[in-house]
């Protein structure tokens, strides 16, 4: 049974997109991969409207004090096993936002991240490659 779930995840991952305190550039690039130029829906990657239907979480943006409880809540609601893919340099480390009073530490202090896709913003090809690498690890 567990193998069937993993097989489903590998062949057609349903992703839910979570933005913490993002500048939106990575979010727009994620929406871009659904448009005709890259069109990932033909590979079965579908953007869903609720975390309860998701196999993978695409997180973007740097974490701040107000959005942390909400991100944690979304992570709890996603049925396990789930992949967490950090899109953008902000998920790797707060970098330029580190001196701020409202910005808190890197994502992996709070939720386990499987794949980091650096870039500001990462190009859509890089995001697709990151998702494929994450799936191959399973």
């Amino acid at each position: 049974m567990a193998n069937a779930k993993l097989w489903g995840l590998k062949k057609s991952p349903w992703v839910f997109h979570v933005a913490a305190a993002s500048c939106n550039n990575c979010d727009i690039e994620i929406l871009d991969i659904l448009t005709p130029r890259w069109d990932v829906e033909r590979f079965g990657i579908v953007l869903v409207g609720s975390p309860r239907h998701a196999d993978a979480l695409l997180v973007t943006g740097v974490l701040n004090r107000k959005s942390l409880p909400r991100v944690l809540r979304v992570y709890e609601q996603t049925p396990k096993p789930c992949l967490v893919i950090g899109v953008g340099s902000c998920t790797c480390h707060p970098h330029i936002f580190e001196p701020s009073y409202n910005v808190i530490g890197p994502y992996d202090k709070y939720i386990p991240v499987d794949v980091y896709i650096p870039g500001c913003p990462p190009k859509p090809e890089a995001i697709i490659m990151g998702v494929v690498k994450a799936l191959k690890r399973l």
Partner: protein, 391 residues
Amino acid sequence: MRRIVPIGPYHPLQEEPEFFKLIVEGEKVVDIEINIGYNHRGHEFISPTLTWEQVPFLVERICGICSDSHPYAYVLAVEDCAHIEPPPRAQYIRTIIGELERIHSHYLWFGLAGHFIGYNTVWMWVWRYREPLLDIFELIMGNRNHYAINKIGGARRDILPEDYPKIEKYLDLLEKKNAMFTKAIVDDPVIKARLEDVGVLSKEDAIAYGVLGPTARGSGYAIDTRKDDPYDAYDKVDWDMVVFEEGDVLAKAKVRLIECDESIKIVRQCLKDMPNGSIETRVDDIPPGEGIGRHEAPRGEVFHYIRSDGSNMPVRHKVRAPSFMNLASNAIAVKGYSIADAALVLAAIDPCYCCTERTVVYEDGEKRYSGQDLLKLSWEKTETIRRRYRK
């Protein structure tokens, strides 16, 4: 009997986290409570720790969509404080990139609006025509977004003459497609019925709340920084301000589409009249004083204020994005409309929460609508209208 309908913070209609509490009676929205702060990163706190040249790289990451507007306004503020005049070629380059960014941002909004009302084809088509523009940005400046073209005293990179034909070719394609999209919005009875008379903001309310950009120009409030306080090449080329009187979502959509035509006009004239020469002037230091810079971003006037004490770091840097003023006006514009329309009205001001908060629910109400429910409500309304026209 009043019910509370929370929208957010992770709502697929809006790209960004925010929290609106709509208080509804039956099907009509009677009040709204807006709760922001999910995107607050504290830019005004970080700026005084950076030097003058490092700040543009910080402020462009305030927003990914209007990523050129914030450095532009900041650079104008510093040039105001120090009385620096950039060379003509740099002024034309900055203007061209500012206008190309406006086209990209309006098309982005247009695609998302199409998705909200259920016309996914519109979304796919419009974003498909955005792609060549992002390729041009990559060709000129090295990145699709966050390209940092603005520098204190000029522009960071040059647009080479061999690239002009590529830009011209894209503008020719865009003109044809823009005419098609404008016709689609204006002539299609279903889209018209869905957007007309929805979310009306009167001119008096627009003035009282200080709204900006297409939100103001769609309500008859004719303000545009490029005409009021001209900078760089905007007073050297010929273009018109686009104003509509009705104040509804359709008027705001028309303002944005026709503004794209005006932007194409500006870019063509700038390419034709581009002066030769250097793209930067020498800046030795920023004297003590203060400066105000303003730029017409796709969403309205971006305002930056800096204060200098003669050292190499700003003492105070104030950022005010247009969505900060436009968001508060939602409280008036959304009252009296149905829930299916409310989501569209909230998106019509083209909200950019990352700009609003620069420096992300869960309330136990009676019935809770999820994001997918609200999208479905909006699509159902469009389908009802479409059936009416089929008969």
